[in-house]
Every structure is written in C-alpha cells, then in structure tokens.
C-alpha cells in the first residue's frame, strides 16, 4: 500500500499570501560565515605565495655543516608527489683523488622519494641506516643534485655528511 501524508502549509509566507520560505536572519549569519571563509582563503593564498606550503621563498632552506664540509640547498616544505631538488655542495678539501663521498640517511630514499641522482654515483653502499655514495668529482667546487618526489606526508629527518666530517641534520615537512 502506498504511504501518504496530508499536505500542510509548512512553507513560510510573505505578505501572508506567497509561500517562499526565505529566512533573512539565516542568510545574514551565512554572510558572516562567508566573510570568515574569504578571510581564511586570503590568508591561505598569501601564505602560499610566501611558500609556507612549499614552492616559495620561505620554503627554501640552506644549511651548512659546522666544519664547512658540505652545504645543502633544499626545500624545507615539500609537496606530496611533487618533484623537488636537494643540492649538496662540496668544498675542494673533501674531494680526494677525483672522488667525493657522501653518506645520506635512508629517509632521502624512502619518504622523500629520491628519483634520480645527478651525477650518477660510481658506487652506493647500504648500511647504518643510510647509503654511502661515491661520486666522481674532477672539478671544484662540486655539487650533487638529488631529484626527489616525496611519497609520505609529515616530517622526515634528513642527515647527510661527508664520512669523518660533521653531519648536517635537518627536518623536511611534506604537505598533501
């Protein structure tokens, strides 16, 4: 059997004749909410331009080992699945016999998602929670570029060092 219900005059009327169902008070409250949202959206855009969510001036990080054995240029804030570049610069005194060695914590590979290393390392040895790379270095100053594509959200601690020298420790935040 089909269910039925009586039609009632439930919609609010204007001039007691025209059923509209408007609610000006609700619309006024909604307009205040809208203003709040627009303020938040504006703040979001300004922060984005500044690079708080990556890809901007505030996201650029530069850090140097206390003994000057390497310098790292990187993005403090990176975006999930979006390419980023981490560059490591070496001074002449860490290059021996045309080779420079670098130890990097394995966070560079797993959460930060290294896709490519330029130049290609001659040798990579896994161990001690990281990877020891050996690169050819015939010119000074030398630099290595890690092209990454983060595969995990949140903070990742990154440690890099030239073996036997001071390490550089930093934290990278990956946003969605």
């Amino acid at each position: 059997m089909t269910k039925t219900a009586p039609v009632t005059d439930s919609v609010k009327k204007v001039n007691n004749e025209f059923a509209v169902g408007d609610d000006l008070e609700f619309q006024k409250s909604w307009q205040k909410f809208e203003r709040g949202v627009w303020i938040l959206l504006t703040i979001f855009i300004l922060l984005s331009l500044a690079g708080v969510f990556g890809r901007g001036p505030l996201a650029q990080g530069h850090i140097q080992a206390s003994d000057g054995s390497l310098r790292v240029d990187y993005e403090r804030v990176q975006r999930f699945g979006t390419p980023s570049v981490l560059t490591i610069h070496f001074p002449p005194d860490v290059i021996h016999q045309g080779t420079v060695q670098l130890w990097a914590s394995d966070t560079l590979v797993k959460p930060l998602g290294t896709q490519r290393v330029v130049p290609q390392p001659m040798k990579s040895v896994i161990g001690g929670g990281g990877i020891l790379y050996s690169f050819p270095a015939t010119t000074v100053p030398a630099s290595i570029e890690f092209q990454t594509q983060p595969a995990a959200l949140g903070f990742s601690d990154l440690i890099v060092r030239v073996p036997g020298k001071a390490e550089v420790k930093t934290r990278i935040f990956v946003v969605p």
Partner: protein, 150 residues
C-alpha cells in the same frame, strides 16, 4: 585509497567554495561563469586522481563522488538545518515594488538578472513584478502583479 579520500575532501571543498562564492543566479550563467565551472572541475580532478589514471582509480573516484552526493541528498531531506547549510534558503529580491536591498547586495544579483527572468515570463517592465525570488537552485522566480493591482 588516496583517490577516494581526495574525492571526499574535494567534494566538500568544492561544496564550500560554491557556497561561499555568493549566490548568483546559476540558471542564468554568463559564458564565463560556464567556463569557470569546467575550470574549477578540471583543477580539482588533478588533485583527486593524481598520477593514477587507471580505470579502477577514476571510476572509484566517480562512484565515491556520486555516493557523497546521494548521501547529501538524503541528509537534506532528513534535516532542514542541513538543507539550509548546503543549499541556503530562497531569497526574496523584490517585494511589492521594492528591492530588498540587503538580500540583493548579499546575492550580487542586479536588475538585469531579474529582468532576464521576467522576460522569460512575458513581463516587459520591472514595475510589473510583484515578487522576485532567487531560488535555492539559482533560478529567479517571478510573480507578476495582478492586473487590478498594477
């Protein structure tokens, strides 16, 4: 998995964006507003499917968005409050020869929009309109004055 979560977030994000964009008469979109709809949809889809363009992923995204929309429809039916949050309420623009300026300013509707809806009803002048209402679906409803009242 990510796509499904992104689709749900994207659904609510677009819902919020469309709601806070202030109600323009959606049934009378200008060509640019029409293009804007596709632009916004095109941008959000990039974040939704990411680099996984498989059938499984894309169809999963479509299914979850349809399910969300179905659920929202059910919620609107069950809860008047929810209906107001999602669709707003009808807004009276003209009443008894007077523009309801608070409502008009809120909705950014102008006399041209109202007159466009009026012409579709065979009304030639604004002063022949007794009521104009911006409906929840973005259309403008026009009620003509009675002959004896005009």
């Amino acid at each position: 998995m990510y796509t499904l979560v992104h689709a749900v977030i994207g659904y609510f994000f677009l819902l919020l964006m469309v709601r806070v964009l202030a109600r323009r008469p959606g049934a009378q979109m200008t060509p640019f507003e029409f293009v804007l709809v596709f632009l916004v949809g095109g941008v959000i889809i990039l974040a939704t499917v990411g680099d996984d363009r498989s059938m499984t992923n894309c169809y999963g995204g479509v299914i979850i968005i349809c399910m969300m929309h179905h659920l929202m429809g059910k919620l609107k039916q069950k809860s008047e409050w929810w209906g107001r949050m999602i669709d707003g309420t009808p807004i009276l623009l003209v009443k008894d020869d007077e523009w309801q300026t608070t409502s008009v300013n809120m909705t950014r509707v102008d006399d041209m929009d109202v007159m466009a809806a009026a012409r579709a009803k065979g009304i030639k002048r604004l002063d022949q309109i007794k009521y104009a209402v911006l409906e929840r679906n973005g259309a403008i409803s026009i009620i003509k004055k009675d002959r004896n009242s005009s």
